[in-house]
């Protein structure tokens, strides 16, 4: 029994679970992105491997694993090998303090849906993300290739510059919640959408939310700030010289960072796993309804298939959705499934924003990038922080 209670054991289990889930998510996130962009651009997207290309990620993984892993000559070997490892580690590190939901009861053990809660969790994430620069910078420098070097330079400069507005934007909601622990941060936002920091008095943090998102795009080297890997200028930026699994780890690191910042945004501004309105007003039914609608739609389309194979796949999806909808009604699981649902929903929404932007916006020019953060974003964040702190001090005194 004390084995089950022992901190290390539980942590190990959690780590395993979270790692498994995360890896799958990473793989599928990329599929989702391809799908989304495809539909934005009116293409079907991956379609061949499995129904609606559902097995595409699996195929990709196999491909990347089996590819030849070549190390070009003239690279600085140790650093060249260290770089992707570093990037991946730092990306995964921050996940460990992110809470996905409240305390739950698994058999005899009561535990939190979170690896561990630091009372300086936010600082921890900042630290991890600030360390993330090294991966890219070193990759750029070590592969001894001018495009890669330029990419590395760009990314390090860009990440340093965008860290300031990001930190300032993070500081503002922290002032309102008055804690650095992510868990308490969420708990201060309980009870309805108007307690979320994005709308929370004394000063709704909409501005800092926007600033945070922009900075997040830059931090994760996503469009429109993806200069470090600008395909049409520098072949593939910092990971030009990387192949197979090393390349994949950069890739996964990028998506892991996306997830991290989306989760951060959810926790900081969107009230984490808290429902937008109380259960009394039926917030607990939302997921059921959604999945039910999804299932019904799928069945409908299955009845009128566009292509032959849909006759099979769509009804299957429909049934699965309906089952899930049912599951959400079971009071046994509701206690932990609902928060998880809300958390995932919010994070997913933000991730969708990432993809949407990628599908629509063009890329910045480098000087525009720098001028934007230093001349606009930074002052705005600073001003917002000043106003917030003033109002907080005003209202608490």
């Amino acid at each position: 029994m004390e084995l089950l209670d022992s901190f290390i054991f539980i942590s190990l289990i959690k780590a395993a679970v979270i790692f498994a889930v995360l890896m799958t998510t990473l793989a599928y996130l990329q599929w989702v992105e391809r799908k989304v962009i495809a539909h934005v651009q009116v293409r079907p997207g991956p379609y061949r491997v499995g129904p609606h290309g559902l097995l595409q990620p699996l195929a990709d993984v196999i491909k990347l694993l089996t590819k030849e892993d070549l190390v070009p000559p003239y690279v600085n070997k140790p650093l060249y090998l260290l770089a992707p490892f570093l990037a991946m580690t730092m990306a995964l590190l921050s996940i460990s303090v992110i809470p996905f939901g409240p305390q739950i009861q698994v058999g005899p053990v009561k535990t939190w849906m979170q690896m561990t809660d630091l009372n300086i969790g936010v600082l921890f994430i900042l630290a991890a993300s600030s360390m993330g620069v090294y991966g890219i910078a070193l990759a750029g420098w070590a592969s001894n290739n001018k495009y890669a070097l330029i990419g590395g330079l760009r990314s390090s400069a860009q990440m340093i510059s965008y860290e300031l507005p990001m930190s300032l934007a993070i500081a503002a909601p922290l002032l309102i919640s008055n804690t650095l622990s992510l868990r308490q941060l969420v708990e201060t936002q309980a009870g309805g959408i108007f307690n979320w920091n994005i709308l929370h008095g004394p000063f709704p943090q909409i501005i800092s939310f926007i600033v945070f998102m922009i900075a997040a795009f830059a931090e994760t080297n996503r469009v429109p700030f993806d200069l470090p890997e600008a395909e049409n200028e520098l072949v593939a930026g910092f990971h030009t010289e990387y192949s197979s699994m090393k390349f994949a780890s950069f890739f996964m690191a990028e998506y892991a960072n996306m997830i991290t910042v989306s989760a951060m945004a959810t926790l900081l501004f969107l009230g984490g796993w808290m429902a937008p309105w109380p259960v009394a007003w039926g917030s607990s039914l939302v997921p059921t309804v959604i999945f039910a609608i999804a299932g019904v739609t799928a069945l409908y389309h299955g009845a009128h298939p566009a292509r032959k194979r849909d006759k099979v796949s769509l009804p299957v999806f429909g049934v699965i959705f309906l089952i899930i909808a049912g599951v959400f009604l079971l009071p046994v699981v509701q206690s932990w499934l609902l928060p998880l649902f809300w958390f995932v929903a919010k994070t997913g929404a933000i991730l969708f924003l990432f993809m949407w932007v990628r599908a629509t916006l063009p890329r910045f020019r480098y000087d525009q990038l720098m001028g934007f953060t230093w001349k606009f974003l930074f002052p705005v964040a600073m001003l917002n922080l000043l106003v917030t702190s003033f109002l907080v001090a005003w209202t608490t005194k």
Partner: protein
Amino acid sequence: MDVILFLIFAVVAVVCAINVVVQTHPISSALSLVGVMGSLAVLYLLLGAEFIAAAQVIVYAGAIMVLFVFVIMLLNAGAETKKGRSYLIPGAPLLIVFLGLMAFFVQRIFPDNTMVRFGGFTGGGPKEIGTALFTTYLLPFEVTSILILVAIIGAIVLARKEIE
């Protein structure tokens, strides 16, 4: 437990520090220095200085050292050239004497009766730091902020291209 942690990270720190000195290539030295800082951060946590540990990683490892790496890349600095006289002759003995004296004093002045336990001191959280920073140490704080401002301006003035 504490001892093991301390030993691990102390060893890491020392090794990295030696690496800083012996590596001929600035990038390697820089990364080793990052290693030193990381392990120091852990030691800070051991000493109950959570905030400082975080600041150590964010500011030192995350900002300052990135700046170093950035500059090294920018100047594309190669391994250093062996020329000019070496200061090994006067330096090394002096250094050894220095270190020996230091160790001697430490052993002499700080007897082993004060032990460091994890959680032995919990005054290093953000709250305490902030309180002290904005009450007792307000003036130094302001002064340092001015200093930072001056430094930023100076850096810009120094590094910008002269526009004719």
